[in-house]
Symmetry: C2
């Protein structure tokens, strides 16, 4: 029985409010696994190459039921999330040795998945990506869950029309940068906000028409009035809170607010209320939440468009890559603070293909 | 020159927050008018029969621009609102002596309207109502602006489907009672809230499936979970604030929240924030504001349906009628407190038809 080291991102302690601390609430710990041990008949063993660090991971860290989202992580257990991996061995029919798998697994170097697990349906064999010529990590980014979220949230909920004004918050993030660039492709005027000057520079570089650093802006409502003198038609909301209030002071008639997430509230010590919701009444504006899972069945259209835009150079995608699983806990904390630039990825191992 | 007394509802003082006080912020004052004096060439003189007291009147009392709603009332000037009246004399082509007019005019016994006034387009000749066999006041209620609001807000924004669960707040009010009854006509399960036991009794009487007095309910979120065990599909929101938060804890996937108004915020000393908006994301729920003016062009369909429902006895409409214009200021304050029962009307004079 040979034990192989197996590093894992583990939840140490639930945290309902406030920012998590690496080492206190989450940490990377070394366990071990016998890669030769027999699997159960409904299991497959995966070697993980890429871990995706996404804001939604904050929810299950709270330890409370989130009403339809993922269930809480257990204390002392390995957290789960999106990964890209290769099958080492498998007792599951549709997973063969060497297959590339994208999906939700434990966040560790070697992950066992089970066909009876509730998340199993999220795990998909995607051998096509071996020859795609695109970075592997794109498949948990611009071509993965964040890409799907951006594409369908913007198109199906935001219903953009050429010539309209789009505002995107967290615009340099995993989802925001895609939304803004699709906005430009479709002929909208695109405004973005982010929290560092370096992100702001990136947004200008990829074609945003107007940008601002919200951390250096005293009055976001006035700033938006200045940058969007004709008002906002579509707001792609990644942050909620004060930014949403500022938008509600600047919406046009029949504006659509596609609510993807409200990251400003995830780590807040106190719930931040939205105080001017009444503004949607005279404007006949709409706030609509959505989850990427509503659109999984439309993935083919998404992949076709986005691969084409990437190949034509109309869409660029910035990632922040941590080169070692040891960095996973701090990387997640950094995402919560917005310290990362672009999609946060952990490179765990290199694939052999 | 014979002067005729002309009582008017006058704004004495703007009030941004808190509840208005009759005699301090608004009052009925007696002026006079020479009914024989010549009119300008773009004017008509009306004898007012009915004044409609609506919650939206609170907005222009604030003295600040409300972003797309009606402009503020001027201090010392007669307030405006919906009225029903008869033309005494007219220099405007489309208004003839004896015509019945429904629309927005000054709230006084004798109102002069001008074809150059921004609200003139709201004034419509409606001689058909002379022979309708229905109470005159219905035309500023169930067959007027509140009716249109209920009908189109519920049908076009709420998009109800048979078998779904509808919740209506301020359910015994001018709009809410109509929404709930249309919900029953369309085969939904209908839940309503109101602020007095007497209103609750009325809601049961007109067929609501479940009702509660929110002033006697400690935890509205739990109350709604109990009364709507299968969740809420459509919420017709008249109140905002805490009630909206309670609904957001109980919405089903793809729920529609039609936001008609947020009366809980109109008189609040402090803005009441909504703290759980993030709930719309996993549920793919939607909040959509609307204004009745979006649907004026569809009035024919509305009138046909509602008149039929009234005549068939499927729809009943309760009004609270003050018999004298002297009561107008206190009646408006009462509407703000929810002390009225049903649509608040002021009977100013009897028509001769």
């Amino acid at each position: 029985m040979v034990q192989t080291p197996n590093k894992q991102l583990v939840l140490l302690k639930h945290i309902l409010r406030g920012y998590p601390v690496a080492g206190e609430h989450i940490d990377v710990q070394e366990s071990s696994i016998d890669l030769e041990a027999p699997l159960k008949e409904d299991q497959a063993l995966l070697k993980v190459h890429t871990i995706s660090i996404d804001p939604f991971l904050r929810g299950p860290m709270k330890g409370v039921d989130a009403g339809g989202y993922f269930p809480p992580f257990d204390v002392g257990q390995t957290m789960y999330g999106y990964t890209i991996s290769t099958v080492i061995k498998s007792n599951i029919d549709k997973f063969k040795q060497g297959d590339v798998v994208i999906g939700i697994t434990n966040l560790e170097e070697y992950a066992v998945i089970s066909s009876s697990h509730p998340f199993f349906s999220f795990c998909i064999v995607r051998n096509d990506i071996k020859d795609s010529g695109l970075p592997l990590s794109y498949y948990v980014g611009v071509l993965g869950m964040p890409g799907l979220t951006a594409y369908f949230g913007f198109l199906e909920v935001g219903k953009p029309k050429k010539g309209e004004t789009l505002f995107v918050s967290a615009a340099a993030g995993a989802v925001g940068q895609i939304v803004g660039q699709i906005g430009k492709i479709l002929g909208l005027r695109v405004i973005g906000s982010a929290g560092t000057d370096e992100k702001i520079a990136y947004l200008k570089q990829i074609g945003f028409d107007a940008v601002f650093n919200y951390k250096k802006t005293n009055n976001m409502s006035e700033k938006l009035a200045e940058l969007a003198p004709e008002g906002i038609d579509v707001y792609f909301d990644n942050v909620g809170g004060e930014t949403l209030e500022a938008v509600l002071n600047n919406v046009n008639r029949f504006a659509r607010i596609a609510v993807c997430g409200m990251v400003s509230t995830y780590n807040a010590e106190k719930d931040i209320g939205v105080h001017n919701l009444m503004n949607i009444v005279p404007k006949h504006a709409k706030l609509e939440g959505f989850a990427v899972s509503d659109y999984f069945h439309l993935e083919e259209q998404f992949t076709k468009d986005v691969v084409q835009w990437l190949k034509e150079g109309k869409l660029t995608y910035r990632e922040s890559v941590a080169e070692n699983i040891d960095e996973a806990a701090q990387a997640l904390v950094d995402v919560m603070y917005g310290n990362n630039s672009g999609k946060q990825i952990i490179r765990v191992s290199d694939p052999s293909f």
